[in-house]
């Protein structure tokens, strides 16, 4: 293994802008990115990654190999919450455990996008279908998390079942804006791949720059949330890091098993190893209002996200490099 990969990742513009955001919070600067701009940058990134993935899918078509990979991803997204729940349930209440479980079963689009930028810089290829994999991994964990909460609270002595508004929940899980934009751009990209040139300068050229600005914003947000971690306790902090590594390694093993290339394997690793901080927390607030957002949000945003972006991605790459040769 080559530790210089970690160092060189640290000297990567996106990672450094993330650090700049965190520094701004620590020195209590008033540096701030207005809310609508955050949303715009994230809309752009989803639009762009979705469209590019779709164009590639449209050119290559859907193969058995792709369907296998997608199935593996959905499987991971559905199983991860189960063991995560079993582990954290020892330390926190049922709703908190379910919310954390759902968070870690789902994915972080920005981590994925940062990994894509990492691959591009190293001229490693990846398949457009991995974007589809990202889109379909966002939601299953939400459903599994809520089912876990329900089963566990049924077990409890009171006998009172927690009632769940399933239509609202499925709606929240599968039709939230980010998922819809990603899937929509993917489909539109695959339908219009023949004249993709007209959109190429828009989806490609500013991509890295927008990612830097967005990670600056993520640095601000993550560092602010970090303070909430006091209430989480050291066990959850450690979980937030170990879960990233463990899930990523399982993802890499799975990628090896089904014969993915190195680029796809890295993306699979970050999908499995990352945790949600947009779709899942919103769904949890609605469906499990008793779950404390002061736990699952800072774990995902303050620990797992920076861990993956700064250390995880190069480490997973080193593991893959070692394994694939």
């Amino acid at each position: 293994m080559d530790p210089s990969l970690i160092l060189s990742n640290l000297l990567n513009a996106p990672v450094l802008f993330f650090a700049l955001g965190a520094v701004a919070v620590w020195v209590r600067s008033d540096l701030d990115i207005p809310g609508p701009i955050s949303k715009f940058l994230s809309l752009y990134l989803l639009f762009s990654i979705g469209y590019k993935g779709g164009v590639e899918l449209g050119e290559g078509g859907i193969t058995i190999a792709i369907l296998t990979a997608l199935s593996a991803c959905v499987l991971m997204a559905s199983l991860t919450p189960i063991w995560s729940f079993a582990i954290v349930r020892r330390w926190v209440s049922v709703p908190d455990a379910a919310a954390i479980a759902a968070t870690y079963g789902s994915i972080s689009a920005v981590t994925f996008i940062t990994a894509v930028s990492f691959l591009t810089q190293r001229d490693l290829e990846y398949g457009g279908y991995m974007v589809a994999a990202m889109a379909i991994m966002e939601s299953p964990a939400i459903v599994v998390g809520i089912i876990l909460a329900r089963i566990a609270s049924r077990d409890a002595a009171t006998g009172k079942k927690a009632s769940i508004d399933w239509s609202k929940l499925l709606h929240e899980a599968f039709l939230n804006g980010a998922v819809l934009l990603l899937l929509g751009s993917l489909i539109i990209g695959s339908l219009t791949h023949e004249d993709a040139e007209s959109l190429a300068p828009f989806v490609k050229q500013p991509f890295n720059g927008v990612l830097c600005l967005f990670l600056l914003d993520m640095g601000l947000i993550a560092a602010r949330r970090l303070g909430d971690l006091r209430s989480a306790g050291w066990r959850l902090v450690i979980f937030a890091m170990l879960a990233a590594v463990a899930h990523a390694v399982i993802g890499i093993a799975l990628a090896r098993l089904i014969g993915l290339g190195r680029g796809d394997a890295l993306l699979m690793a970050v999908l499995c190893g990352s945790a949600s901080y947009i779709a899942v927390p919103a769904a949890m607030r609605l469906s499990l209002p008793k779950a404390n957002p002061g736990l699952f949000v800072p774990m995902s945003l303050g620990i797992t996200f920076p861990f993956n972006v700064i250390i995880g991605i190069p480490v997973y790459m080193m593991i893959i490099d070692a394994w694939w040769t």
Binding site: G35, S42, D217, Y277, I278, G294
Partner: protein, 97 residues
């Protein structure tokens, strides 16, 4: 001018739909919403982050006739038991257009 109760509710923005639905069911016919509200209360600071809508407040103002005020207040309290938030109630005169 008609004498009414003025309700002013501060609640996390994810619960906006829920509480408005409950208020309508209880007989409120109109309301006004202010967005992107920050604040501090028992459960710490809420300043949102533009990315997620989590941890950002809204203010809902509703003028309610005296006869439906109690029902609406009950509905508000039921929702707020789960979600937290505050509700201030005062007397006002409503100048109709």
């Amino acid at each position: 001018m008609e004498s009414v109760k003025r309700l002013e509710i501060v609640i996390e923005s994810v619960y906006l739909r829920t509480i408005v639905a409950a208020m309508k069911d209880a007989g409120a016919t109109g309301y006004t919403v202010m967005h992107d509200i920050t604040g501090t209360g028992d459960r710490g600071e809420r300043r949102g982050d533009g990315l997620t809508d989590l941890s950002r407040n809204v203010i809902i103002i509703a003028a309610v006739p005296h006869e439906t005020a109690d029902a609406v207040l009950d509905a508000v309290q039921t929702v707020m038991k789960d979600t937290g938030g505050i509700c201030l109630v005062s007397d006002a005169q409503w100048l109709r257009h």
